[in-house]
Symmetry: C2
Amino acid sequence: MTSISDLTKDLKQGDIKALARAITYVENEITGSAALLENIDARATPTIGITGPAGAGKSSLVNSLIHLLLMQKQRIGVVAVDPSSPFNYGSLLGDRIRLADHFNNSEVFIRSVATRGSLGGLSDKIMEVVFVMSAFPFDYIFIETVGVGQSEVELAGLADTTIVTMVPDAGDEIQTMKAGLMEIADIFVVNKADHVGADRFAKNLRSLSASRINDEWKIPVLKTIATAKEGISELHQEILRHQQAGFSNKRKPFLLAEKCWRIIQKEKMKEVNKKMLLKEITRLMSDQYFNVYRFAKHYF
Amino acid sequence: MTSISDLTKDLKQGDIKALARAITYVENEITGSAALLENIDARATPTIGITGPAGAGKSSLVNSLIHLLLMQKQRIGVVAVDPSSPFNYGSLLGDRIRLADHFNNSEVFIRSVATRGSLGGLSDKIMEVVFVMSAFPFDYIFIETVGVGQSEVELAGLADTTIVTMVPDAGDEIQTMKAGLMEIADIFVVNKADHVGADRFAKNLRSLSASRINDEWKIPVLKTIATAKEGISELHQEILRHQQAGFSNKRKPFLLAEKCWRIIQKEKMKEVNKKMLLKEITRLMSDQYFNVYRFAKHYF
């Protein structure tokens, strides 16, 4: 247990190696990871989520924001959810490598986490990874993820400010996503703003935002060209403005309750494993009237 | 509890109204449904699963098989998993209404169950419904479902004989499905065999089947035109041949173990509900260092 308390202390003091090790612990559920998580006192680090369809330039946007924040001597942590698409993987990897240079400066820390299963949602361990990172003295934590259904909702529960990035040529896809994205977006970014239709697209999003009469926060719509670093400073200003407005994240308690439920379930079920059940059931199935509903009661 | 034991007795004796009521019980988890399930002594009724892509003519195939079996004075139960596609719904409904005529003869009983969530898989309660039906003196139980990923595997665990239905013009879709379908198929049916390419398609499937050197059972490939009742008698013969070969269903124990695990989990978690957690967490979140991993331990 000494190593766990050392680890949490090192984390608090900004030891990058301790951070990397702590994340590996929780990602792989190494012995002691539960104790580590229980002993973390999380800072209220501003956490920025960036989501949107594949090809919207999320990585470039994070990249540009990091460059800007580094000039302001901010310490930044990035959690990137690896997209399953091999096409995107290549282009992201390029960004990762570029960002890795900054990593040597100990002012940017980047961690990729794998996606869970076939749904392309957030990693099973993303919440743990972000929680561990919140013990480290970062000024900002970024979470970058491809927006696919469930993952958006999870992201919105994790991030204080959620940026939804889109491109003008998103076309029909956007029609189906719009409702869900409007629900989670704190800031809309129309990236690749030099593409045809960007103005019309941004205008449409603005009227969509304006039409939501009950919102305390009107979702701003920004145009950027991330690769040319255009509009990034404006985006940063909007992030600050949203953070300073001090809205509480209404989705966070739901995400926490869900997580809590899963932790309890795991604990309660730790002595029941499927392999053991399979073995017993296989043996009993030769009985003429095997009844699983009756059998299960032995474990109540 | 008297009513439960009456119900199981009526079920055994072939009371169609009792069957309908029992299914409603388990589908809606009405009080007593757990006791009902525990008290069922399932017969070893031959259970035939029919799956395949939308539009492959699964309903027509079931329809034709039922007509054939009714002439042989067999009593038949059908569980149809409602497809989410509204297009298919309409065409299936047609079949349902036609089949409803037979229902009045008390020799065919048809029950539709809703699909679970967005995945289009089998219903959450399909296993319970089939289990209840297996207490009734049917000669055959049919389970008809659109083949989509997970649902196929579940179906293969439920059915003694799994028929995979396809059409010659399935094209590319089949390429991606083929591996998974080959895993669960006991019989391949090329329906709409009067369509272009049917012979070549059937030939391809036959070489695929023949290439599996380790199989005890060589998957037969049959051509049918279900709407014209062509090839149905041959299909029936293959079903009988497969049933008589007496292979045990290797997937069944896995499905039962999974189900058992879920029953136990539900029991163990019955005093922990998400709403209550949400309420408590929302209250505690104002604490500076709220830690869900620490909080969850109160419920261990």
